[in-house]
């Protein structure tokens, strides 16, 4: 009896674990199913080479490049804010700051990542854009600059927290050996500790990039809804994610080509984040036991 009960429990638990596999299979097959039907109507060569994305107009073009350039542009701005600041914070907290300071500041910074993204979108549109218009008068009301900057602030804790964990895990002996040679804290940090923790730091950066690519609400609110192939940060653009939001807000018939475009856009986005996540998982697994 007891053995039977234990067996049933194990099977139930296994089913729950298998749900996670079902989710992945579900995501891939749903995206692939609708995308394949999309590519029956639109040539895959046009999809990757056409420089216009206008599925909602009468003159329809299905080139993903404008959405990709929008996604790339906002993510690049975000990373160029978050990377130097996040990395400096992590080195400062791990190598310089007193222990009590580190313990209070880290959770406060992590609060930045807990704020819902719609709130950041409000901030980018209502506060940051008007402020930047004071400096650059020809900045549009919707633009990738303020969306990217605010997104950068949002992902600071991703880089600072994970990098700080990695720096903190570097054994004290390495630092002491370096101090013993007469090196300053700065020299020790950059020549000994950062290289030793490099795998963790790289993982944090990849995760931040992946997060920026998939971020939706900030760009949907503040960056506009005009797909265009440009790297000008002052004009309205559209990212893959905000296109999906735009279509979802409208009244699109199930089974229409417009409906399928969001899955074609979705599978493109999924492919990018999947590659980034797999790389970061590989790095984590390879170097996990370095200093444990």
């Amino acid at each position: 009896m007891r053995k039977f009960k234990e067996g049933v429990i194990e099977k139930t638990l296994l089913t729950s674990a298998l749900i996670t596999v079902a989710v992945t299979i579900g995501i891939v097959s749903v995206l692939a199913f609708e995308a394949i039907r999309f590519f029956k109507e639109v040539s895959i060569i046009d999809f990757f080479t056409d420089t216009q994305w206008t599925p909602l107009f009468t003159d329809k073009h299905y080139g993903i490049l404008p959405l990709l350039s929008g996604t790339f542009l906002t993510s690049a701005i975000a990373i160029s804010v978050a990377l130097p600041i996040g990395l400096s914070i992590s080195i400062y907290l791990s190598e310089y700051a007193p222990k009590s300071f580190r313990k209070t500041v880290k959770p406060m910074l992590e609060l930045l990542a807990a704020i819902p993204t719609v709130v950041y979108g409000f901030f980018a549109l209502i506060v940051v854009t008007p402020f930047l218009q004071g400096i650059f008068p020809n900045l549009s009301g919707f633009n990738s600059l303020s969306a990217g900057l605010v997104m950068g602030v949002m992902i600071i804790p991703f880089i600072s927290s994970i990098s700080e964990d990695a720096l903190h895990a570097v054994p004290k002996e390495l630092r002491e050996a370096s101090y013993g040679m007469g090196a300053t804290k700065l020299q020790t940090a950059f020549k000994v500790v950062v290289p030793a923790a490099s795998s963790g730091i790289i993982v944090s950066i990849i995760l931040a990039i992946s997060r920026a690519i998939g971020e939706t609400m900030i760009v949907a609110i503040a960056a506009g809804q005009q797909p265009r192939l440009t790297f000008d940060p002052t004009v309205p653009i559209e990212t893959i994610t905000s296109y999906i939001v735009q279509v979802s807000l409208g009244d699109v018939q199930h089974g229409s080509i417009e409906y399928r475009t969001i899955f074609a856009a979705g599978i493109t986005l999924f492919t990018f984040t999947f590659i980034l996540n797999t790389i970061s998982y590989g790095i984590r697994k390879k170097y996990q036991s370095n200093y444990e």
Binding site: L13, V21, I27, Y92, T117, V118, F122, A189
Partner: protein, 294 residues
């Protein structure tokens, strides 16, 4: 022999290095403070924009075309429904999956696949979960753009977070507790249910609350699933149409009249209050739980 010139050069270099060291320290403090200052500026600005708009009527009023008459009641109730349903779906499933992975799964290819899979799911953008929910729950299962369809979608979204947090807390339970339970003749499940889960409960609770606070703030997947910006009544049934606070905020931000911006700021204050409270409770449990095993 070191000449005097060489000594001077070395002394100079040391001075420059020390100076650089101090400079970086200042830079590090500045970066850390920038993060914190921005947090204060964000919250301060939103408080200034919205605090005057919050009164009892704002919380209990139905949506309206006129900004001064509109309230967040239906959105707030929608968020509450989503929160409750998501808890009921994601909490048991996530904890059960984590127990299986930590206690039952044998090390091998199968458990390696499960692990890679969960780590990948945690990195899938939330809007992709929206596409999954739209096709599976809304269309194929025929749930429509209902609270249940939205909650199921969010449950899948937070499942990986709950699983990772639960596994970490189970791992932290000392082996001695397990051994003692087995020595007394307890079965595997009795050991898990009576000893390991209670011992790990603080950490599990922290992870679950944090993941739920994320679910409350999610906007994009629910927009894709088809949650509405305007719902005349609060949902009374899992299959009713719904809106949630973040979608209400998004809708108000996209309107031109200034009154709606004020409304958006006021609704953001309520949303942040909920998010920060959940985070506070989670941190409290984490601290309490961490002390237990040290």
């Amino acid at each position: 022999m070191v000449s005097e010139k060489n000594t001077n050069q070395i002394m100079n270099k040391i001075r420059v290095n020390r100076w650089k060291d101090q400079l970086f320290k200042v830079w590090g403090v500045a970066c850390t403070l920038i993060g914190l200052i921005l947090l204060v500026v964000f919250i301060g600005d939103i408080l200034i924009d919205g605090i005057m708009r919050i009164d009892w009527g704002f919380v209990t009023d139905l949506p309206s075309r006129k900004p001064e008459k509109a309230g967040v009641f239906t959105a707030l109730m929608g968020s509450l429904w989503v929160l409750v349903l998501t808890t009921f779906i994601a909490f048991p499933t996530g904890v059960a999956a984590a127990i299986y992975l930590e206690e039952y799964a044998k090390k091998g290819r199968f458990s390696a696949i499960l692990e890679i899979n969960i780590s990948n799911l945690a990195g899938v953008p939330s809007i992709i979960y929206g596409l999954l929910g739209l096709e599976i729950f809304v269309r194929i299962l025929g749930l429509g753009a209902s609270v249940l369809a939205g909650s199921l979608t969010l449950s899948l979204l937070i499942l990986p977070i709950i699983i990772v947090a639960t596994r970490e807390s189970i791992k932290a339970v000392p082996k001695t507790i397990r051994d003692a339970s087995y020595a007394l003749g307890a079965s595997k499940w009795q050991t898990i249910w009576n000893q390991i889960l209670p011992a790990a409960s603080g950490g599990i609770l922290t992870g679950v609350i944090l993941s739920l606070s994320r679910a409350v703030g999610e906007t994009a997947p629910l927009i894709v699933v088809g949650a509405l910006a305007y719902v005349p009544f609060a949902p009374g049934h899992p299959l009713d149409d719904f809106s949630v606070l973040p979608i209400q905020i998004f809708n108000w931000i996209s309107r031109p009249q200034h009154g709606f911006i004020e409304n958006a700021a006021a609704a953001i204050i309520i949303l942040l209050l909920v998010t920060f409270m959940m985070n506070g409770v989670a941190v409290y449990y984490r601290n309490k739980w961490q002390k237990k095993w040290k």
